[in-house]
């Protein structure tokens, strides 16, 4: 289960950024880039909480700019 979720997350992350590179290379249109990024975003935000159980950072209440 975890490994499937991980796989979905990484594919989703790729969908967020790779289409913009293809747009840069002239292989995709802008609208398609936006749709793929949105699908990637939804995929990442749904799949990642299933496996990314990262512990709270040390002194997580610190704030960085």
């Amino acid at each position: 289960m975890k490994s499937t979720a991980k796989l979905v997350s990484w594919i989703a992350l790729a969908l967020t950024v790779v289409p913009s590179l293809l747009f840069f290379a002239g292989l995709l249109g802008h609208d398609l880039v936006k749709w793929l990024a949105l699908i990637g975003t939804i995929g990442w935000l749904c799949a990642t909480p299933l496996w990314m159980g990262r512990e709270l950072q040390v002194d997580a209440s610190q704030v960085e700019i």
Binding site: V17, S20, F24, Q57, S61, V63
Partner: protein, 470 residues
């Protein structure tokens, strides 16, 4: 010594034991996410709006971020791993409990203003689908359009309530979102490059996409300049409170090896290099593609983060600005609540967090705060940074001239006057120079730090009495 655990973290009043030390990878992971935040959407476009040249930006940010990393590595980390105490406990031992409360209160107020800017950033994104746009009025203390002010109040209220409910959930969302936010920043930058027709080496060399955008802004906002050295010093010192001010002692006290001190490099070069340049390109792209959208009702160009991200990556951009603003504002409000609670110990954390959230929301209703984020961040470093000089001098120099380190702790005093004067004097002069003489705020950080350290050393020599006589 016994271990203590609290909401803010473990080992707050003891040295971190060997068993709790962490390897370098933890710090690289943490800094990678921490510096890609809502502020980046605001700061990047401000460089372009201020008239920074592209060459200066690329080289200046490179040098400034490098200096920031070196400051963390060679100023903060040696003291952090030698003493393994939080900033607050270390300051309490040197400056006294009441002085730390004052420092904490000022820290909390500054956090509220930073959170306020992030409320504005999030509201700018929430407003885009509803046709409610962020606009910066002429006067510093003027509100934006009524619909935008109402939206800021609504977003701020939600953020304050979520922050009051606790820190863990927001921190978890921030952790999960961090890699995705970095990817969105990168995607925004790449899309913007195509939109400004800078997808060839020739276009980069000519740089017309950048100079045209600056000319567009300056024709409407008036001529401005932002020099190479302003960029360097800003990039170096925008986290002045964290490195020169030693706030990150609290983080690096867990470091097993001094090599962990290189970890901020990933945050600097992803968040304060790639993300700032990407965010600046967003404004250049908006000016190229939809120039009428870049100009507000007052005829001036405003960097509206929500709109910038939307025109580049659509709904993904909107979601990213909302989450980036939220995950920056929430811990900031939470931290400010803790600081206020320290000043009023009988209050509850929930109430104080709601107070901090209210102050942040009211601050966020004034759009000039986020529009002047470059100045605010420099001022933040000027006010909090000098306390790091006190810790530096106390650790390296006080014993060498025969004085007593951690004097407040040894004498059981609640305020060490040497620290109070050493801190307030250069900060007052720095604030006068910034607000009344127009000094670029980040330029004040290092002089204030040096003067604070020198005054603390000199006054300690005058004030300290032999311990046996106490």
């Amino acid at each position: 010594m016994t271990e203590q655990t609290s909401e803010g973290g473990e080992f707050e009043r003891v040295s971190v034991p060997e068993s709790a030390l962490l390897g370098s990878s933890k710090f690289w992971g943490m800094y990678a996410g921490e510096h890609t935040a809502g502020t980046e959407f605001m700061i990047g476009p401000l460089f372009l709006a201020a008239g920074a040249s592209l060459q200066d930006l690329i080289l200046g940010l490179l040098l400034g971020n490098l200096l920031a990393v070196l400051t963390w590595r060679f100023l903060v980390v040696p003291i952090a791993i030698a003493k393994r105490l939080t900033l607050y406990y270390q300051l309490e031992r040197i400056a006294g409990q009441d002085l730390v409360k004052l420092y904490n209160l000022i820290n909390g107020l500054l956090f509220c203003f930073l959170a306020g800017a992030m409320v504005t950033v999030s509201a700018s994104a929430v407003g885009v689908p509803f046709g409610i746009f962020y606009a910066v009025p002429q006067s510093t203390f003027a509100l934006g359009p009524p619909t935008f002010t109402a939206l800021v109040l609504l977003v701020g209220l939600v953020m304050a309530v979520v922050a009051a409910a606790g820190y863990a959930m927001v921190a978890r969302v921030a952790n999960i979102a961090a890699p995705w936010m970095i990817a969105v920043f990168a995607a925004c930058g790449i899309v913007s490059l195509v939109q400004v027709e800078a997808n060839s080496l020739t276009a980069w060399n000519e740089g017309a996409f950048w100079t045209d955008a600056i000319a567009f802004v300056q024709a409407r906002n008036g001529a401005q300049s932002f020099s190479f050295w302003q960029i360097v010093v800003f990039a170096w010192l925008c986290n002045g409170a964290m490195h020169f001010g030693m706030a990150d002692l609290s983080i690096f006290r867990f470091a097993r090896s001094a090599n962990s001190g290189w970890a901020p490099a990933i945050g600097m070069f992803l968040g304060h290099y790639m993300a700032w340049i990407a965010a600046a390109l967003l404004l250049a792209a908006l000016i190229k593609v939809q120039p009428e959208m870049a100009v507000g009702d007052d005829g001036k160009v405003n960097a509206n983060p929500g709109l910038l991200a939307f025109q580049s990556l659509g709904w993904t951009g909107i979601i990213c600005v909302v989450i980036a603003g939220w995950t920056t504002a929430n811990p900031t409000i939470y931290r400010a609540g803790l600081a206020f609670q320290g000043v009023v110990p009988k209050s509850t954390r929930t109430i104080m967090t709601l107070v901090a959230g209210t102050v942040a929301t009211l601050a966020g209703a004034f759009p000039n705060l986020s529009a002047k984020l470059l100045d605010f961040v420099g001022t933040y470093g000027t006010v909090l940074g000098p306390m790091g000089a006190v810790i530096f001098v106390d650790y390296y120099l006080i014993s060498r001239i025969g004085l007593v380190p951690e004097y407040a702790d040894r004498t059981k005093s609640s305020i060490n006057p040497a620290v109070l004067i050493a801190w307030l004097f250069p900060v007052s002069v720095g604030l006068y120079m910034i607000f009344w003489q127009g000094l670029f705020a980040a330029y004040a950080v290092v002089p204030a730090w040096i003067v604070c350290g020198a005054i603390y050393l000199a006054l300690s020599k005058v004030i300290q009495r032999p311990l046996s006589a106490q």
